[in-house]
């Protein structure tokens, strides 16, 4: 039974989204809070991630937008006095913070009990040595290194662990002297070399090519255990599980292997003493039942979120209940609501998780996949065949791929190398290789070590594709696309289409394979390429419907249909021959009452689109439900709250392609579809859905198109007399040159229809422009390049608003701290604006009103402005919710999405009386970067977005809000008397930084500066020490030899903070600045690369001593 002495519980969140710690913890935290509140327990949440669902009204009783760090957590404990604390729901951030509070005695001092897994168990799993020792006690095998100091010892160690072994020279950088040995002779040779580098050599069993398998295990305080799910990585050991395609359940394990590892997982969780949930990762020999335990995570994880979504078993919810003292047998299966929570889900489908990378956003980053994680998001696809799940997943990652086949041709110079050393393109390289006669499955296996079962399945997709391709060419009988369908109907056997659909082919893949795309291209010259692709796809769709080949809707019910369930957790599949033939087998009976409102989700998290759109989607669902409509969500991102089946009336965990969305619309026959809360993916569907007469709620498709299409938008602005930076869509170099001649450098260059500035850049001179255009031309072969005048030293201002029939109902104006040039997703934003002229605000309001009216806006929208003095220019307008909606909604305490949803549902709303000028406090949104995960990437900010997450903090003053926000994203206040390294860029930036530098000097900080900056500081009477740029270190110049080297100072940990401002925005080479910036990141030294942000931060920490920051919950800001 539950522990009745607990009345108030503190839950630690995970802070900003970063690589390795993303939306999954919003999901697990939200679930835990729900589990607690259901018990009548008061909940307190610390999480500065303001865009999350868990930090929304009604999820926790008290919410603190403060850093998840021991100092702040202690202060909150001191104030709130909770009886219990939950550490397992906020990722590594929460876990580390909790362990620190435990070690420092804070928890004991305030009588706070850690609920669930005891801290000692956490420590046992986190500390490598303790962990190995602990598992040795129960004879469970782990990966261990034997330290050897002679060749003889190495030989003995190798014998003990068994060949093949890996040899590592200890204390040697960069893997010098390391390698694999298959036998003693190889070991002798390598060991000899290794001892030349190092006095100590580590011998470890080589697990190269072993399978990687995970189990999610749950234990209650009565020692009852279950494993909820197991998962198998498609990629063998060596690639981080976050970088691997993962399937659930395991596919290549026999019953004996499956249950051997399952039994071990239970043995381990019992011995460690977990109460709640943990994850056990194994390496499994592909040639025997031999195994090693890689690690145990004593907390909810990305894998547990995936397992919850893959099975329908709410791990976090159950783990929270177990933490309160319940036994598993006392809880119900959340899906069936009748059977017990003590059971193991039986799947009757296969799930495929695929990572989403955004490496092209980073200059200089290593693209090879390895033991550290680089992906920024993931998708989960569900199917009744592996091929279906995989092909769905490859479409879901949203990188222009149509599945495993029929994609644009990849250029891979060395396929063998690309197979052997995988990059983010791995799976497509396999596809390419399979098309070549010299790569049979054995060869691909040798190079990739991907289990042959997976390779055979992939090959199966190619075989079906080949059969589609062999269909006789389809020609229009009368030269129109209209007759193509009849021609296709004659040419292609219905069973072949059925089979293709069962194995995950999209209508477009089929269209391309049978040559329809080419035929449409020939017939419909003049349309854009995208439109032609769409037409070709429509032909197949029509054909398929004519033949009655339709997907069926299946439930995820945790019991493989063994017990009846009412679950609303759904996916679509072609399932089977008879399913696709007779259109039978739906698990859902549709009401056809026109009460469904479909909200389109935001898809995979990626740079530029993440948890904030999940928040928007969830808010829309809440309102729809409250207003008595049936809320329906389509989304496929397992890291989200919007894919929690509890949050809506029907959840389709499926693709957001036109094809799939229309399949669902055909079944739901909805009252309407909301496309404006899920970011760019649904926004881009609007026009196509409109063509099919789908009722789009809110702003109409033609108006959305008018905002998206640069030319139309521009014409509209001209018409209403609103300014914008001069721009032109250009197709030739001469045109570009003459345009630049007219407006002058710098210019901003970008392709149309982009989100978060992919392939966008600022060019300051002709050389840069030419070099960049070569790059961009590849990206947008069929599109003109848009060049616009780039205005320097301008303020950037955001308008987030809701309008009804073209009239603004509510709005929030916020101001960037950085000047224009830093992508709005990376900028630090303050709301309400603190330093805008009243006149500027007035003009922005007026222009926004004009635009809202001209575009007949009916719902949420966002306009980005640039202002120099009171000169206002429109940069961009999105007729959808923007990234900053949750931030401004929460600071303003006015839920703009709720309001917008009312508008879109055409319900009466009152104009909110709230106004941003009434606020007595300030909100700051700061960005989280993950450069430390992205080896070699230049951590400099530009017009292309690079941040992976954000926080929003509230304070009584800008300084307080900024300070807590900056601390929340990992900055640290340099210690008293500490040292700051400055290189403050060009003249304007140097001037902008002068006051801050003076403040630092006055307050006892020691300043180091590279010589230009140093000269400038000295000239202005600020004491400092000159340091050498990396390039100056070997220079013979006299003044240089005296000075210390910047890099050395960093390496010696003599620097507490680095301010390094690049002189211009375009330099991508390995410059001096790059080296300093990169070393700062690699050594975990706080780095700021923007003068205005650096000044603001320095000012904040000097003006506001940490212990004067008031500990106030969101509720307390009135």
């Amino acid at each position: 039974m539950r522990d009745e002495t607990i009345h108030k519980v503190l839950l630690l969140g995970s802070g900003a989204l970063k690589i390795g710690e993303a939306g999954e913890f919003d999901y697990s935290g939200s679930q835990a809070l729900k589990a607690l509140r259901e018990e009548g327990i008061k909940t307190v949440l610390i999480n500065p991630n303001i865009a999350t669902v868990q930090t929304s009204e009604g999820v926790a009783d008290e919410i603190y937008y403060l850093p998840v760090q021991p100092y702040f957590v202690e202060r909150v404990i001191e104030k709130e006095r909770p009886e219990g604390i939950l550490l397992a729901f906020g990722g590594q951030t929460a876990l580390n913070c909790g362990v620190e509070l435990y070690r420092s005695g804070v928890l004991e001092r305030y009588g706070v009990r850690v609920l669930g897994t005891p801290v000692q168990s956490i420590i046992d799993t986190e500390d490598r040595e303790l962990f190995v020792e602990k598992l040795n006690e129960i004879d469970v095998k782990t990966i261990r290194s034997e330290a050897c100091s002679s060749v003889e010892e190495a030989r003995q160690a190798a014998q003990k662990v068994g060949y093949p072994v890996i040899l590592r020279a200890a204390y040697a950088l960069g893997g010098l002297g390391s390698g694999f040995c298959d036998n003693e002779q190889e070991l002798n040779e390598l060991a000899e070399k290794a001892f030349a580098f190092s006095p100590q050599v580590l011998v470890e069993k080589s697990l190269k090519g072993w399978k990687e398998i995970e189990y999610e295990v749950v234990r209650d305080k009565y020692d009852n255990c279950i494993t909820v799910c197991n998962m198998e990585n498609l990629d063998p050991l060596g690639i981080h599980t976050g970088e691997s395609i993962v399937v659930a359940p395991s596919q290549t394990l026999s019953n004996a292997e499956f249950h051997k590892l399952r039994a071990l997982a239970i043995k381990i969780i019992r011995h460690i003493g977990i109460v709640g949930e943990c994850n056990v990762q194994y390496a499994l020999d592909p040639q025997s039942e031999d195994y090693r335990v890689i690690e145990v995570n004593a907390r909810l994880s990305r894998s547990s979120a995936l397992a919850s979504k893959a099975t329908g078993y709410p791990l976090a919810f159950v783990a929270a209940k177990l933490g309160l003292g319940y036994g598993l047998f006392e809880l119900k299966n959340a899906v069936t609501k009748e059977t017990s929570a003590f059971f193991e889900p039986a799947l009757d489908y296969v799930v495929c998780k695929i990572p989403r990378w955004d490496l092209s956003k980073f200059h200089g980053v290593d693209r090879e996949l390895g033991s550290s994680m680089k992906s920024v998001g993931e998708v989960m696809a569900i199917g009744r065949t592996f091929e279906e799940a995989l092909q769905k997943g490859l479409r879901m990652i949203g990188q222009g791929m149509h599945g495993f086949v029929e994609n644009k041709e990849l250029t891979i110079p060395d396929i063998a190398a690309a197979l052997h050393e995988p990059t983010d393109k791995r799976i497509f390289v396999v596809s390419k290789a399979m098309h070549l006669p010299e790569y049979d499955i054995d060869r691909i296996y040798e190079l990739t070590k991907i289990d042959r079962w997976f390779l055979e399945k992939l090959k199966h997709i190619i075989d079906i594709d080949d059969r589609l391709k062999s269909v006789t060419s389809i020609k229009s009988s009368d030269g129109t696309t209209a007759s193509l369908m009849e021609a296709a109907l004659r040419a292609i056997p219905a069973d072949l289409i059925r089979e293709a659909k069962m194995y995950g082919f999209s209508d477009f893949q089929i269209a391309r394979a049978i040559g329809l795309e080419n035929e449409v291209n020939r017939l419909e010259d003049g349309h854009s390429r995208g439109e032609k692709m769409h037409r070709a796809m429509l032909v197949v769709r029509e054909l398929r419907k004519r033949l009655g080949i339709l997907p069926v809707v299946k439930q995820i019910d945790t019991m493989a249909a063994e017990y009846p369930t009412q679950t609303n957790y759904l996916y679509l599949t072609y399932s089977s021959l008879d399913g696709a033939k007779n259109n039978v087998g739906h698990d859902v009976a549709y009401e056809n009452d026109s009460r469904s409102v479909i909200v389109l989700g935001s898809g995979a998290y990626r740079i530029g689109s993440s948890v904030e759109f999940d928040w928007c989607g969830v808010q829309a669902l809440n309102t729809i439900r409250r207003e008595g409509y049936r809320s329906v969500m389509i989304n496929y991102n397992p890291e989200t709250v919007s894919t929690d089946y509890d949050l809506c009336d029907r959840l389709y965990f499926d693709e957001l392609t036109f094809e799939r969305v229309m399949d669902i619309i055909d079944l739901e026959i909805p009252y309407g579809v909301i496309v404006s809360t899920g970011g760019q993916i649904p926004n881009n569907l609007a026009v196509y859905l409109d063509e099919e007469h789908v009722p789009i709620l809110g702003t109409q498709a033609s108006d959305i198109d008018c905002a998206e299409d640069r030319a139309k938008f521009s014409a509209m602005l001209n018409e209403i007399g609103v300014n914008q930076p001069e721009w032109s869509a250009l197709t030739s170099m001469e045109d570009i040159d003459s345009f630049v001649e007219r407006v002058g450098f710098p210019v901003l260059v970008r392709p149309s229809y982009v989100l978060s500035g992919a392939a966008m850049n600022v060019c300051s001179n002709k050389e840069e422009l030419e070099r960049f255009l070569k790059l961009a031309a590849n990206v947008s072969k069929n599109h003109p390049v848009v060049v616009s005048k780039f205005i320097e030293h301008a303020k950037e201002i955001e308008m987030d608003a809701v309008a009804r029939n073209g009239e603004i109902l509510a709005y929030a104006i916020s101001e960037h701290i950085e000047y224009a040039g830093v992508h709005s997703g990376d900028a630090t934003i303050q709301f309400p604006p603190q330093k805008l002229y009243v006149e500027t605000v007035r003009r922005i309001k007026r222009i926004s009103k004009q635009i809202a009216k001209a575009l007949h806006i009916n719902g949420p929208f966002n306009i980005q402005y640039m202002a120099r003095q009171n000169d206002i220019l429109v940069i961009e307008c999105n007729l959808r919710a923007s990234r900053s909606f949750p931030f401004v909604s929460k600071v303003l305490k006015l839920n703009l999405i709720d309001l917008a949803t009312h508008v879109m549902l055409d319900l009466p709303v009152e104009r909110p009386s709230k106004n941003l000028f009434d606020l007595d406090y300030v909100g700051i949104k700061a960005s989280q970067f993950s450069f430390n995960r992205l080896q070699n990437a230049d951590p400099v900010l530009g017009v292309d977005m690079a941040s992976t997450g954000e926080v929003g903090c509230i304070g009584d003053s800008t300084d307080i809000a900024l300070l807590t926000a900056m601390l929340s994203v990992g900055h640290r206040i340099p210690k008293k008397g500490g040292s700051i390294l400055l290189s403050t860029g060009g003249a304007k930036q140097k001037a902008a930084m002068l006051d801050a530098a003076r403040q630092l000097a006055t307050h006892g900080y020691h300043l180091y500066a590279t010589h230009g900056t140093s000269d400038y500081l000295t000239a202005n009477g600020i004491e400092n020490t000159t340091v050498l740029w990396p390039s100056e270190e070997n220079s013979s110049k006299e003044y240089v030899t005296e000075a210390p080297s910047a890099l050395e100072l960093l390496h010696d940990h003599k620097i507490d903070m680095v301010v390094n401002i690049p002189k211009d925005l375009t330099s991508h080479e390995l410059t001096n600045g790059y080296k300093i910036r990169r070393v700062s990141i690699d050594l975990n030294i706080p780095l700021i690369t923007n003068a205005r942000l650096a000044s603001a931060f320095i000012n904040a920490f000097i003006e506001v001593p940490l212990d004067t920051i008031p500990i106030k919950s969101w509720r307390e800001y009135q």
Binding site: Y222, D223, N224, C225, I226, P249, Q251, T252, L253, S254, N255, F258, H259, R262, A263, I266, P286, Q287, S288, G327, L328, F329, E338, T339, S340, F342, F343, E344, P345, A346, L347, D348, Y349, V350, R384, T385, F386, D451, R452, W453, E456, K457, H460, M502, K554, M559, A560, A561, E562, Y563, P564, S575, S576, L577, D578, G579, K581, V584, G585, D587
Partner: protein, 364 residues
């Protein structure tokens, strides 16, 4: 691949492709062999174990997990008997290519060798829902195009009218691990090999006797009642011998699955047929009166009516999903049984300790 279909006795038809044995010539000639009781199993692994489990005799096995055949077929020493007992296998997506270090042949090759028809491409979820809602029923596999097959099926005999135990039990006494300290008589109603392994591994000599063999005069230390197919109400002979044994001796008895039902019948309780049985790896059972719960592997279509147990017997385990009986024990004598499969194979191994408990009760 040839088209194939499953016809249920209620007239529902499922189409797919054949990937097992295909009888040459007139399909009608094979109809007797390809019909049986259609049952579904929700386990995600273990098709070689299930197919060779004699408890599936006379049944057409539907796997709810769609991907089957992935790891091929292991060598015979890893099977649960020496052949396939299920009449047919019905799956959603057969993996023609398999991959496993211990795989000796593909599932399809094996099925063909053992003359077992099989269908892939079936919406097994829809099929499962039919069985769940209308109860298990007879069905028949037909192979060939619509033009050559019928759409009607009337079973000649009902599954439950046949004494399946008699058909699968051994014909004579077999001894394993001869000379071991403990002698256990195992009543073979269709026993799985892993039960014998579990006993042998614990130092028992196993004396495997036919289901209706009178072992009461033999020299042994304990009695084991194994699993088996079909309706226990048809196993009168076995129950009579068991009653005789229980009257003359207090020697330990341990029963599994059908063994649980036979023990209950011998004690005087009744056994009834479940609507669609328990066939899975995820059945939760609770130790009655305790907070101890176990995930178990199950394969049974009949259950003990715990209400009918006499006073000196009590329920040992209960199913946490539907409350059905999962085991019984005598209140004073070392007699107990489990409806689930502590020997697993396939399935979770969490309750294997019951064998330890059995052996300990013998040594006492």
């Amino acid at each position: 691949m040839k088209k194939a279909k499953l016809i249920l006795e209620d007239g529902t038809i499922f189409e797919g492709w054949s990937f097992g044995y295909e009888q040459e010539g007139d399909h009608c000639a094979t109809s007797a062999d390809t019909s049986g009781e259609v049952v579904f199993c929700t386990a995600m692994t273990g098709y070689p174990e299930s197919l060779t489990d004699p408890s599936y005799a006379g049944q057409l096995l539907v796997m709810t997990y769609p991907l089957v055949g992935n790891y091929g077929v292991p060598p015979q020493e890893k099977w649960e008997s020496d052949r396939i007992y299920a009449r047919s296998l019905i799956v959603s997506d057969y993996s023609a290519a398999y991959s496993h270090w211990d795989g000796r042949e593909s599932l399809s090759e094996w099925l063909i060798r053992e003359k077992i028809p099989a269908i892939t491409g079936v919406d097994t979820r829809r099929l499962t829902k039919v069985l769940r809602e209308r109860g298990v029923m007879m069905g028949k596999i037909e192979i060939g195009d619509a033009s050559t097959t019928t759409n009607l099926y009337k079973p000649a005999t009902e599954y439950s009218s046949i004494n399946w135990v008699e058909r699968v039990s051994c014909r004579s006494v077999v001894r394993y691990n001869e000379g071991a300290d403990i002698k256990v008589v195992l009543v073979d109603c269709g026993v799985k090999a892993n039960i014998i392994r579990c006993l042998v591994n614990r130092g028992c000599e196993v004396i495997r006797v036919p289901w209706n063999y009178d072992y009461t005069e033999m020299d042994f230390d304990a009695l084991f009642l194994g699993n088996g197919p079909g309706d226990p109400n048809l196993c009168g002979e076995a129950i009579d011998i068991l009653k005789k044994q229980m009257q003359r001796s207090d020697k330990p008895i341990f029963g599994i699955c059908l063994g649980n039902q036979l023990l209950a019948k011998a004690a005087g309780a009744t056994v009834y047929k479940l609507k669609y049985g328990h066939r899975s790896h995820n059945q939760p059972v609770r130790l009655v009166g305790e907070n101890k719960c176990f995930i178990t592997a199950q394969n049974h279509g009949y259950a003990v009516d715990a209400q009918t147990l006499p006073a000196d017997w009590k329920e040992l385990f209960v199913n946490m999903n539907d409350g059905s009986n999962e085991g019984i024990q005598h209140s004073s004598k070392p007699w107990f049984s489990a409806q689930f499969h502590p020997e697993a194979c396939s399935g979770p191994v969490d309750t294997e300790f019951l064998f330890d408990r059995f052996v300990a009760s013998i040594k006492k």
